[in-house]
Symmetry: C2
Subunit: 385 residues, 2 copies
């Protein structure tokens, strides 16, 4: 086990009707900027619940944070927040709204010249941020219980992650009932996103992290168990609650304790989104199985454990079990209606070369063994064709 530091101060308020607790979670004197996305919270009743809970507080609103939140949109909110002298940010929505709001919270406080430095420095330049709380409506990214955000910049076709101890939400309200209005694509994306978050922390070099590995398997198994009930679209409270808690747990830092993370699937996936506009989870479902095929020697032992402990594969050699883990995972993605190939989106190998070039330009090398260079990225994309 590697040495590690773990500290996650986010207060999670979980369950039915918990949006009603909002008012007592925010300083009575706070001047609030309420951020949200494309307006679904106005259709599904969440906006109404939030405003009712906030009573007669003065609230400035900023809507229109898009999926894969852009620097360009977020900077409008930064200017509004500065003008209105807000000192609390309430993000209501899915991971994109939360990620964008973390950037807004840091950028409003930022004293440097260009707030894009926040993203370019991976959050290193962040010295403070406006306090922030969230009401989550889409289980997927885990943003509600971590300090990370991913921001896209249209002008440069970039999509980059950042994080800082200052960008943890103070609280996150998780009412599983808010997920009832999600469509099948959103549910499918959330399940796959959660699965791949766990995979990046599990299918890596074995460092004798017995408990963390079993925790990861617990999330995998729960996802596989509940996926049919979630995808049925029915208002099944327990299935939605377990799904929501899985998504939060998958990226709250707990599964990373003492572990050497991979994150190459995310690295490549972000570029596919940046160039071709696929949803985050759609890219992950293409890259993960391809990455595992490419890395089957290095990841074989862990993938065999995945096959045994999650999919119940008891027979075969380590190599056969590892191959079975990939097959079962692809089947699982298909079972929730998720494609696993570039072709499904009309992307050719020639198109994908843009992604390879991006890594070549940056000189960045990915993976827990630092062996995913641009040539390896090309091979992986070919396997994901």
């Amino acid at each position: 086990m590697q040495n590690f530091t773990f500290c996650n101060p986010v207060k999670i308020v979980f369950g039915k009707g918990t949006i009603a607790n909002l008012n007592e979670l925010i300083d009575p004197k706070a001047k609030i900027l309420l951020t949200y996305g494309g307006g679904s919270i106005k259709k599904n009743g969440v906006y109404r619940q939030v405003r009712a809970a906030l009573k007669k507080r003065k609230v400035v609103e900023f809507g229109g944070i898009e999926p894969n939140p852009t620097y360009e949109t977020c900077m409008k909110a930064v200017r509004l927040g500065r003008k209105e002298k807000i000192n609390f940010l309430l993000a209501v929505g899915g991971g994109s709204v939360l990620d964008g709001s973390k950037f807004i919270a840091a950028a409003i406080s930022y004293k440097g010249k260009d707030p894009w430095e926040i993203v370019k420095s991976y959050g290193q330049v962040v010295k403070s941020a406006i306090s922030m709380g969230t009401v989550l409506t889409l289980p997927a990214t885990g943003s509600e219980m971590n300090a990370f955000g991913v921001i896209s910049r249209l002008s440069t076709t970039e999509k980059l992650a950042f994080g800082s101890p200052h960008t943890y939400p103070k609280f996150s309200i998780l009412d599983p009932q808010t997920t009832y209005s999600l469509d099948k694509k959103q549910l499918r994306n959330g399940i796959v996103d959660t699965f791949v978050h766990v995979a990046e922390q599990y299918a890596t070099v074995d460092l004798n992290t017995a408990l963390q590995d079993k925790y990861a398997e617990a999330v995998f198994k729960t996802l596989v168990e509940i996926a049919p009930a979630v995808m049925s679209g029915k208002k099944d409270y327990d299935a939605r609650a377990n799904f929501m808690w899985c998504a939060t747990q998958a990226l709250c830092g707990l599964l990373s304790c003492g572990v050497k993370g991979d994150w190459s699937t995310h690295g490549i996936g972000h570029e596919i989104t940046a160039f071709f506009g696929l949803a985050h989870a759609e890219t992950l479902a293409i890259v993960l199985p391809a990455m595992w095929k490419y890395e089957i020697k290095n990841k074989g032992a862990k993938l065999a454990k995945l096959a045994e402990n999650v999919y119940g594969v008891k027979k075969g050699s380590t190599k056969q079990k590892a191959a079975a883990a990939i097959e079962h995972t692809v089947k699982f993605f298909h079972s929730v209606g998720m494609p696993t190939s570039l072709k499904a989106y009309g992307i050719t190998l020639k198109d994908a070369e843009k992604v390879v070039n991006r890594f070549a330009d940056r000189g960045s090398i990915l993976g827990e063994n630092k062996d995913i260079d641009p040539k390896a990225v090309r091979k992986i994309l070919r396997l994901g064709l």
Copy 2:
């Protein structure tokens, strides 16, 4: 799943050589009260490491906090701390030192008449506490990552738990190497304590908490796997690291999310310690199997899951599997050298009547179904004879 709130702000600094980080974790201006136990930290090198890390800081020391820390001893530290105007408490040792120090931290700040009110009110009266950090040397109680303490009062033969949001440690340093000097009784007690903490949150009414149940099973399975390596007494770093992380995870609040806890084994166990002086884990190992036998109808479904998912019992009815879970658990306790009967300590049923009378006097009823009344306690103690 029940609604829940989860927030655990403790910073965990885990791994080899991490005591060296101590200085940077404490405000340079802090006036420190260093608390410890019977002096084992002076024999095993931990004291030397702590003092070396603190460099030339001014430190007031208070040693002699006993196992099952007493109000009487802790109040001496409270008087010393007030006299020396300390504003940071550094607890170095096992759960007893940490629990005692939480009480000391709250009592130094307490404005009420009698600090015993802190315990009597289950922490409700605590409005502030001196900041505190810990260096853990004995994996068992989980005190390093929660807000709880258990304090005994000699003058009234009481042993009671308390907790407050103000008594979370700011940080806890966990270096698995500090456990190398523990004797077999301490290791055995730590393993059983951890196991029973998980059991109180798992073997209870099924509320469809799929992930939390699997997390609990993950701790159980890890404990069963690593126990032989831990009990061998060898300096097996990974076994000790996994043990230490299991003990912390078992009582950090995560396994309780959305769950209806039992805690009747702890309630009865505390009284056995109060009257007969057994170590905490020794009492738990007697009461848990007896409690499960008594509650086999109510707990049957969960115990059957324990048998299946932890002990690999695949055949038999739910009832048979539940019985097998109890048998396997008793065998596991015996495998680490832990007795599971009152008789092993020379305690008769007549002696145990004191415990029954204590519950009768208090009128307290225990268990997740509120069905463990004094009569039930008597039956359970008979099953634990």
